[in-house]
């Protein structure tokens, strides 16, 4: 079976070109809307983001290229059991209930810009600031490289005649577009392009499911076909075994908590115009996992029934296989795939731009501004921010080009194992005044060490449970018991409200 798209015609390429140019125009509009040279204006849009923009920027940022290719691929491999993705993506919004109300209130009162600003306010510890910042940079840094690789692969599929050139020049071109509109308009440009990207993604997903049902087969027909096939295919329809159910619960905790603690997600909590805006945005967000997750699972299952035979990592190409089938049907099908391709680019670029802006803010404010030049002026920090964006994207492009022949880095799977270790420092500290910095930092380091060691020794999951969960249990125990013991020695350092 052919897993490459048919080459796009000039008119179809022009459509993609117009879409990419529109992002630059939005960047320029973001520049015109700039109110001042403050970091709050550049990195958080002056904290004036309204409901419509906030919903779509949260949506477009939360779902990446991995959601499109990875989720369809997983559903292709394990069948309906991948519906666990609906639960863990809904869990992200549920865990915001523990985090968002107080963090938003404090961010308005204290003028937070980066996630570490909250830790500084709560613990006042340079060591905690440094460890947490480095952890977040590592976790989202490789995520950025993964998005760059996904961009290259998307363009590679478009020009199968010259795959290497398409990958390299594709990564460079798209990275350049992202960094230009981000440098021009900062958060406003990122959030406003997320609006375009989120809408294209939403439309693209509905088209994808509709086209797959019409041209390939309905989910009901696919289920019947799988039940009549080999035992391996029948297993994709049967209830999952005990180990898979444990994995399901583990995903709910590790991804639910980890994605709620993405630095770019925390910054959107800060950027909301008001608590009411944030609250309503999250209420809408609670329903959006059903659009991406259910759609991609059903498409993966349809692929498993009608396009069997893709093995292991190859199965991540099932989305492209289905798109090629649709392309071959009619002129209408060809154009639908063009829109879908734009949706895939939108998913990847909207995540990459938000991650890039978040990394730039942490490098500038948390490392340069806090440790290297504490007395730096706003103008100097703004310049450093822009230089760090270009340096970060340059490094990400270089790594994406160098790693182009590898499968999507396994370390990507580890990012949630790392991010989830921040839960006591961010969530428990908001709710428990007696939590102390020493035990929290010790727990964080121990949790990261345990999760990384287990994963490095080949125990990424034990009995279906992620290494990060074991790390979090140790982390939580050290933070709570340590704080309880410290309590007898002296009163807590800071207030949490």
């Amino acid at each position: 079976m052919n897993s490459e798209l048919m080459p796009f015609e000039p008119a179809e390429l022009a459509f993609i070109g117009v879409y990419l140019l529109s992002l630059l125009v939005v960047g320029w509009l973001g520049l015109r809307a700039k109110k001042d040279d403050s970091m709050s204006d550049f990195y958080l849009g002056g904290k004036g983001v309204g409901l419509f923009v906030l919903v779509l920027t949260l949506y477009a940022t939360q779902y990446s290229g991995n959601s499109m290719f990875g989720y369809t691929g997983n559903a292709y491999r394990i069948g309906y059991a991948w519906l666990m993705c609906v639960h863990f993506m809904t869990a992200v919004v549920v865990f915001y209930l523990l985090l968002a109300p107080r963090l938003h209130f404090l961010s308005k009162r204290e003028g937070f810009i980066t996630p570490t600003d909250y830790l500084e306010h709560r613990f006042g510890s340079p060591s905690m600031n440094l460890v947490a910042t480095l952890l977040m940079l590592v976790a989202v840094g490789n995520y950025l490289v993964a998005q760059m690789m996904a961009m290259g692969r998307a363009l590679q599929g478009l020009m199968p005649q010259v795959p290497e050139s398409a990958y390299i020049y594709g990564v460079i071109l798209l990275a350049l577009i992202i960094v230009v509109y981000e440098t021009l308009g900062g958060f406003r440009a990122v959030a406003w392009t997320d609006v375009i990207q989120g809408l294209i993604l939403l439309v693209g997903l509905f088209l994808l499911l509709g086209m797959a049902c019409y041209y390939v087969g309905s989910p009901a027909a696919a289920t019947g076909k799988l039940l009549a096939s080999s035992p391996a295919d029948v297993a994709k329809v049967l209830p999952p075994d005990a180990q898979r159910c444990r994995e399901w619960l583990s995903y709910v905790v590790v991804v639910g908590l980890g994605a709620a603690l993405y630095p770019q997600a925390i910054q959107r909590i800060y950027a909301a115009r008001s608590a009411a805006t944030l609250r309503r945005s999250l209420a809408v967000m609670a329903f959006l996992p059903m659009t991406v997750c259910i759609t991609t699972v059903l498409v993966g299952v349809i692929g498993a029934a009608y396009e069997p035979g893709l093995k292991a990592a190859e199965s991540d190409k099932i989305l492209t296989v289905i798109c090629r089938q649709i392309q071959q049907q009619s002129l209408f099908g060809r154009w639908l795939v063009v829109v879908l391709f734009a949706a895939i680019l939108a998913a990847v670029m909207s995540t990459a731009d938000s991650v890039l802006l978040s990394i730039s803010s942490m490098l500038t404010k948390d490392l340069y501004g806090r440790f290297a030049r504490p007395n730096a002026s706003n103008t100097e920090l703004a310049l450093v921010g822009k230089i760090s964006s270009w340096a970060t994207i340059g490094l990400a492009v270089l790594l994406a080009v160098r790693l182009r022949d590898t499968t999507l880095m396994q370390v990507l799977d580890r990012k949630f194992d790392l991010l989830v270790q921040l839960a006591p420092a961010f969530i428990l500290s908001l709710r428990w005044k007696r939590l102390r910095v020493g035990p929290t930092l010790a727990g964080l380091i121990a949790g990261v060490a345990l999760a990384v060691t287990l994963a490095a020794c080949g125990y990424g999951k034990i009995g279906g449970v992620h290494a990060g969960i074991f790390g979090l249990a140790a982390n939580f125990a050290i933070a709570v018991f340590g704080s309880t013991l410290y309590e007898r020695e002296s009163p807590p350092h800071a207030v949490c409200s």
Partner: protein, 85 residues
């Protein structure tokens, strides 16, 4: 005594809410379905339909929990127009 503004966060963090979440999650994760069950609803596996319905219920519950104002939230906030170009 809590002010009316604190009630929203109380609602979001109340034990009944989190117990309901746990019950819905326990219903959604298909641990209790008999091994080899091939029951179909609307052409899809019954356990998969149950998982999707439980997820929809969790979304609805979350939206309801977010209905109440949070601490420090004024009634006039959040009604301004978006800054979308």
């Amino acid at each position: 005594m809590h002010s009316p503004k604190d009630r929203g966060e109380e609602k979001a963090l109340s034990w009944p809410l989190w117990i309901t979440y746990l019950i819905l999650l326990a219903v959604g994760v298909p641990w209790y379905w008999p091994e080899g069950s091939t029951t179909l609803w609307f052409g899809l596996p019954a356990w998969a339909v149950t998982a999707m319905v439980a997820s929809a219920a969790i979304s609805l519950l979350t939206a309801v929990a977010l209905w109440h104002p949070w601490p420090g939230e004024s009634d006039s906030q959040g009604e301004e127009e978006d800054q979308t170009p």
